[in-house]
Amino acid sequence: MDKKAISKDRMIYLRKQKINKIAILTVQILIVIGFIALWEILANLGIIDSFIASQPSRIVKTFMNLSENDLLTHVGITCFETIIGFGLGALLGVLIAIILWWSNFLSKVADPFLVVLNSLPKIALGPVIIIWVGAGMGAIIVMALAISLIVTVLEILNGFLNTDKELLKMAKTFNANKMQVLTKIVIPANISTFINSLKVNIGLSLVGVISGEFLVSKAGLGYLIVYGGQVFQLDLVMTSVIILSIVAAIMYQGVVILGKIVQK
């Protein structure tokens, strides 16, 4: 009898939890729908000017005419540049972090330079990069790399240096050499640091690619946004921004899934 009473309370509690979850999701969906509906209605009534603010139905139309604007090609180019920049950033970042971890001397020498480079807004290097690398995809990838690399190096090096001292001492009692400490303790102990830095990196690489495309202005979503703005085709700008946020979300989720696979 008593047991049944408890389980009933438990059921009520669980139901409450579930209702709460559904309520949150419903409100979130309603906000999106309400926002789109309001935007559409206000534009239709002429209260806001759809020429400068665009309009959901026009965005959908632009979206449907994918081929007309070569939208897919541009999306593909942006994705490609981001993945290359992101991959290079992660690879070089880990490599440099390992070198700096290995050599105390080098890491002390590099420290002030890393601090300065880290606080420098890398976009300021844009014109220099374009002159040196040429106004093309190369410059855009270098831009993405410039933005993400230093942060990766700093974060992973920091993780490496903060590896549990007790584990290192334990390895030392077995007379482990530096390579063994690196491969058997330091790297496996920092898998989560690595995944976290990838999560930050994917966002930073996109910032690099889009700002690179702004400057180079040849192809990609960044180019479409700048172009759309210049010719007052706000439908194109809005569509590009929405696609960009979808691309960013998918890439971020990709890293999250990768993290779950690696960490079992």
């Binding site: 007790e166 001492k169 009692t173 077995f174 058997k184 496996p188 898998i191």
Partner: protein
């Protein structure tokens, strides 16, 4: 029985800002095969430093350490060292954790694996060999750490406050487990601890160290005249409290 470990006039001086600091001065004692030695001393004396020197993790300023009549320098394969924390690698299974030392020393072969299997079976950990450390209790983790150290077949085992991270109950049980394993393997053991009763309950001899600069103040022989010694039931012996009083006075806590 002959001495397996001889420590002769070991001295350690640190270079400090205001001159030299003498931490350990002329520490000498010897240990017979299979003996369990506890080392106690006032807090802040160099007892852990002494152990680190024997383990080769720290350099000594002067003196000699001999194992089986051979002087040792630096980190020796003859010494196994167990720390306060179990330091198991969370991403490895119990089995791979136990193999860690062998892997580092490049001795992961069929023979050593078979030895690890025997150890795991003998000490009731074999059925957990595919589990991760996080799935084991604190006491079991400490036992795994012990087996990881024993797997490399050291001549001498050093325990540095190896149980002080455990809660009191687990600690009593683990001391018994560890004691049984070590006596079973006839392992020569040096244990540093701040806990006088832990020191008495396991030891054949207790070495009392003085304040800095650390010297050997006195060495006590511990004998409960029991058929089968056990760190738990020897606590009930009237001799236990006598030893405790003696050692407490030696430590000179209020002085």
């Amino acid at each position: 029985m002959e001495d397996i470990l001889t420590i002769q006039k070991v001295t350690k001086t640190y270079q400090a800002k205001n001159g030299e600091l003498e931490a350990i001065r002329d520490v000498s004692f010897s240990v017979k095969k299979g003996e369990f030695i506890s080392i106690i001393g006032p807090s802040g004396c160099g007892k852990s430093t002494l152990l680190s020197i024997i383990a080769g993790l720290e350099e000594k300023t002067a003196g000699d350490i001999w194992i089986e009549e051979e002087p040792i320098q630096g980190i020796s394969e003859k010494i196994g060292y167990m720390l306060q924390k179990d330091s198991l690698l969370e991403w490895r299974t119990i089995y791979d954790n136990v193999l860690f030392g062998l892997e580092i020393r490049g001795k992961k072969n069929k023979k050593s694996k078979a030895y690890v299997d025997t150890l795991l079976k003998k000490y009731h950990l074999y059925e957990f060999k595919d589990k991760l450390p996080s799935q084991l209790s604190g006491g079991m983790r400490q036992r795994v750490a012990l087996i990881r150290t024993l797997a490399v077949k050291p001549k001498i085992l050093l325990l540095d406050e190896a149980f002080s991270a455990l809660d009191y109950q687990t600690r009593l049980m683990v001391t018994k487990d560890v004691y049984d394993i070590l006596k079973n393997e006839n392992m020569t053991t040096l244990m540093v601890t701040h806990d006088i009763s832990e020191a008495i309950s396991m030891a054949d001899k207790v070495v009392v160290l003085s304040n800095r600069p650390t010297t050997v103040k006195k060495i006590y022989d511990i004998d409960f005249e029991m058929e089968k010694r056990d760190p738990l039931n020897c606590r009930k012996s009237h001799k236990f409290s006598q030893y405790f009083d003696c050692l407490w006075k030696e430590l000179d806590v209020h002085g």
